[in-house]
């Protein structure tokens, strides 16, 4: 199979009538090595902005509770602004996916935001969840140790996995206020090893979880500054994680950064990350030659990710012309928008009703609510998880309603089938399209086809 046929399916968001697909792995690698054009064009929410929004929300809620004049209206507006930022995060992610010439950077961004799943459990945290996703972005073409640091030390991760409530049981703070009985919470420590680095099969024990939890104490989220390290909250003494001692007195943020780097560069992590990437991009049972080469590239480059991506893009076992996976709903919607000929600016110009109806709500119906994976292990990879009868019905209904709802200017259905599916247009779809009883259903058949959904 030609790379230009394979690439938009395996590494991108399908074909667009406006852009030629990448002709070689080098084209994709060059784009990944170059500047992040999509983020330059549509910059995301910063952590500082998110913290300010949270602050403002909490301040106005208090004012409303105290019946201060005008507070009810102001609070309502702030709530709407929080909602708009959440929806805006989705709209921006879709615009970038649709516009990115190779698609690979946006596919990687989706992969990593799922690897480091967070979810806002309360309204004031919503902008922070968006900011967490944005904070990962500069690191996804850099090194995994840096990416792990950006994720772990972000206020949203510390809040989501309860680190903000974990204190050294013998910390200064805990001893000063014995009445509060401050102590450890293992949540972040466990998921760091199980999900983010070593993998559940990795060589860690309960003792390692415990020791890491002790080492992580001291991380705090301040209203204005975000994440800080507060030595008074940290457990005194050294901790031993995977056989190596960290820290000592006084406790420092550098100790935590050290253990994160060590976890990131552990051979178990290289295998975990290599396999997860290969399973996500290629298929449920990637060849050992592929994952082995990716893991080797990872360790050889000390966790630099570009060499790993290079193996993924060029290895013969990643070029197989079969498509065992199903596009996840975000991927499916972005692919549909591209096929309909929208560019990023057009997606950014969708109004609130359109983005709710043809993206936000659709994602939920297809089983992938925006930034609301139910648990820290994120969304499933298996094709079967995304094609239950109701999920497929949601995709078909989306295919039927969305072109009209977004006022897409589409060519005749037969032509649409050729531009949307390119060389993958099957005989069956080509025959079915002209037999439809309406243009809308003919177009929907193309958008709902297995070739559109598979990757």
């Amino acid at each position: 199979m030609q790379f230009s046929t394979l690439a938009p399916v395996r590494f991108g968001f399908g074909l667009s009538p406006r852009q030629a697909p990448p002709a070689s792995p080098d084209e994709i690698l060059a784009a990944l090595r170059g500047p992040d054009l999509m983020a330059q064009r549509w910059p995301g929410l910063t952590t500082q902005e998110a913290l300010q929004m949270r602050d403002e929300f909490l301040r106005l809620r208090k004012a409303e509770a105290l019946n201060e004049p005008g507070a009810t209206e102001a609070f309502k507006r702030q709530r709407q602004a929080m909602d708009a930022s959440n929806l805006g995060g989705l709209q921006r992610a879709l615009a970038r996916a649709v516009e990115d010439p190779t698609g690979m950077r946006e596919r990687l961004h989706a992969f990593w935001r799922n690897h480091f799943t967070v979810r806002a459990k309360r309204v004031p945290e919503m902008p922070l969840a968006i900011a967490h996703v944005e904070a990962l972005r500069p690191e996804i073409t850099g090194s995994f140790p840096a990416l792990l640091r950006a994720s772990t030390l972000h206020p949203m991760m510390l809040i989501y996995l309860d680190q903000v409530a974990s204190f050294g049981p013998d910390s200064k703070r805990a001893r000063k206020r014995p009445d509060l009985k401050l102590g450890l919470n293992e949540n972040l420590a466990r998921e760091l090893m199980e999900l983010h680095t070593l993998g559940v099969g990795g060589s860690y024990t309960q003792d390692d979880v415990r020791q890491l939890a002790e080492l992580l104490t001291g991380l705090r989220v301040m209203d204005d500054q975000g994440t800080i390290f507060a030595p008074d909250f940290a457990e005194p003494g050294a901790e031993t994680v995977l056989g190596r001692a960290y820290g000592g007195d006084p406790a420092k943020l550098a100790d935590i950064e050290q253990v994160l780097t060590a976890l990131a560069l552990h051979p178990d992590t290289s295998r975990h990350i290599a396999t997860k990437l290969a399973v996500h991009f290629v298929g449920p049972e990637p060849h050992k030659a592929l994952t082995g080469a990716m893991a080797e590239a990872y360790l050889g480059a000390k966790g630099e990710l570009m060499p790993v991506y290079e193996v993924l893009l060029t290895h013969p076992e990643a070029q197989l012309p079969t498509f065992p996976k199903v596009r996840q709903p975000f991927d499916y919607i972005a692919t549909g928008y591209r096929a309909m000929g929208f560019d990023g600016a057009a997606v950014m110009a969708f109004n609130g009703v359109q983005i709710r109806r043809h993206a936000f709500r659709s994602l939920r119906e297809m089983g992938q609510g925006w930034l609301s994976a139910p648990a820290p292990n994120g969304w499933p990879e298996e094709a079967e998880e995304w094609v239950s009868p109701q999920q497929l019905a949601s995709r078909i209904n989306w295919a039927l309603k969305t072109p009209a709802g977004l006022q897409a200017k589409l060519p005749e259905p037969a032509e649409f089938a050729r531009t949307a599916l390119g060389p993958r247009l099957s005989e069956l779809v080509a025959q079915a399209v002209p037999r439809s009883e309406s243009r809308a259903e003919a177009t929907a058949l193309v958008l709902a086809s297995a070739e559109m959904n598979r990757r």
Binding site: V200, Q206, I396, E441
Partner: protein, 423 residues
């Protein structure tokens, strides 16, 4: 097929909590021969058995958990002089008194040490032991039961919502459906759909089930709200936030509404169990109480109690032939953690209810709470395999032979002596 009433109920559930309760809005049902009913509730997130069924007679419990309300002095209800029931479940006490409620304590799956929710839940639903790699675990133990039962009509199984429970997934055919996703294609469109999916079994089967259920379930006056109506346009995620603006999309609703949703789910399951359905499986999440457990556990505990009482009320006379099992992936630490919660543990408790139960008893061998008695010095020591209880239930209710249980349904299980918990 699907009643109008259910669609309306289902739409109400979906409207208020589909996003908030990705697991709770689903139920899977199957028909098998006989009159016995089995309801399996998977309690996701690791229910703290030591808080739900408090061994307050052991003075160590209060020492391990100084900030938790423990025992009848702090609001729990005494069960047998040693155990007490969590205050949020007090409405189940009448069932305890009539022998329709019981528990098994210090139980677990064979899953040990890594304490991962996700692997733990897979193992619970798969019903296999540690000797079977999780990657090999594809179908669930209830599904294997169906395959063993001649005359099982698994095609009468439905699920609503987004989650497919592994306990009933596998090769025995099941259908699943969400009430807000009926196909809107014309009949010609459906024919063509069938044609274009011809070469892809996954899409072909899902589309065929979608068409079948749409045709069977949707009628012109079924009362479904038009998804494009102005009312439906309001973003449900925001519209559902309480006035205080605290809950974000994806957050469990406050207990009252959530208990109502839990009751609706149980009511729907009961309506099916009154008909041809004999086995129902659904799940209730929210048990992962790492922080502020006293408040955090109240929601799921109230919902679980609401599910059980609703099942009893709605099942009427067939409640006598019903066994309800509430199973969780593992227990939680014996000690409270530094955030007045508990972390992932090992041994836990199972809830049992129904007229088919010989209740008013906490089954199992109590291991004790002294340091040396705890698993790895931190968790309640499991003294029985939770699968053995499920196995004896299947033996007693459906006559499944022990060797089939030990070899096919729960491979590797040593079922041990019958705890004799069926009436």
């Amino acid at each position: 097929m699907i009643s109008r009433r259910f669609f309306l109920q289902g739409a109400a559930i979906a409207g208020c909590s589909a996003a908030a309760h990705p697991f709770m809005s689903s139920v899977t049902l199957a028909a098998v021969p006989g009159e016995q009913r089995l309801v399996v509730i998977i309690l996701r997130g690791a229910m703290d058995g030591l808080d739900i069924v408090q061994p307050y007679g052991d003075p160590l419990l209060a020492q391990l958990r100084p900030d938790f309300p423990v025992g009848p002095d702090k609001g729990a209800t005494d069960l047998d002089g040693f155990f007490a029931l969590h205050p949020a479940m007090v409405e189940l006490m009448p069932l305890w008194k009539t022998g329709e409620l019981g528990f098994a304590h210090a139980v677990s799956t064979p899953y040990r040490d890594k304490r991962s929710h996700f692997d733990g839940q897979d193992m619970l639903e798969a019903g296999t032991g540690m000797d079977v790699p999780l990657s090999m675990v594809r179908d669930g133990w209830l599904n294997r039961l169906l395959q063993q039962m001649p005359g099982a009509r698994a095609e009468t199984a439905y699920s609503v919502g987004d989650d497919e429970l592994k306990v009933l997934s596998g090769t025995a055919p099941t259908l699943s459906w969400a009430p807000d996703a009926s196909l809107i294609l014309s009949s010609q469109g459906r024919t063509l759909l069938d044609m274009i999916y011809h070469d892809d079994p996954l899409f072909r089967q899902a589309a065929s089930a979608a068409v079948q259920i749409t045709d069977g379930g949707k009628t012109a006056d079924d009362g479904m709200a038009d998804p494009d109506s102005p009312e439906a346009m309001a973003d449900p995620a925001m519209a559902q936030m309480p006035a205080g603006g605290m809950a974000a999309p994806g957050t469990p609703a406050p207990p009252k509404g959530a208990a109502g949703a839990a009751a609706s789910l149980a009511e729907f399951a009961a309506s099916r169990l009154r008909g041809e359905t004999r086995i129902a499986a659904f799940s209730l999440n929210g048990w992962d109480t790492h922080r502020g457990q006293e408040a955090a556990i109240r929601g799921p505990a109230t919902q679980l109690a609401a599910m059980v009482t609703t099942l009893k009320q709605q099942l009427g006379p067939v409640w006598d032939k019903t066994l309800v099992l509430g199973m969780t992936e593992f227990g939680r630490t014996a000690r409270q953690n530094g955030t007045k919660g508990t972390d992932h543990g090992t041994g836990g408790a199972m809830l049992m209810a129904g007229g088919a139960l010989k209740g008013r008893k906490v089954y199992g061998k109590w291991p004790g709470l002294a340091d040396a008695d705890l698993y790895a010095g931190r968790d309640l020591m499991p003294t029985a395999d939770i699968r053995a209880y499920a196995g004896w239930a299947l033996r007693g209710m459906y006559g499944v032979p022990v060797d089939v249980l030990e070899k096919s349904i729960f491979p590797g299980l040593d079922i041990g002596a019958d705890p004799r918990f069926l009436a």
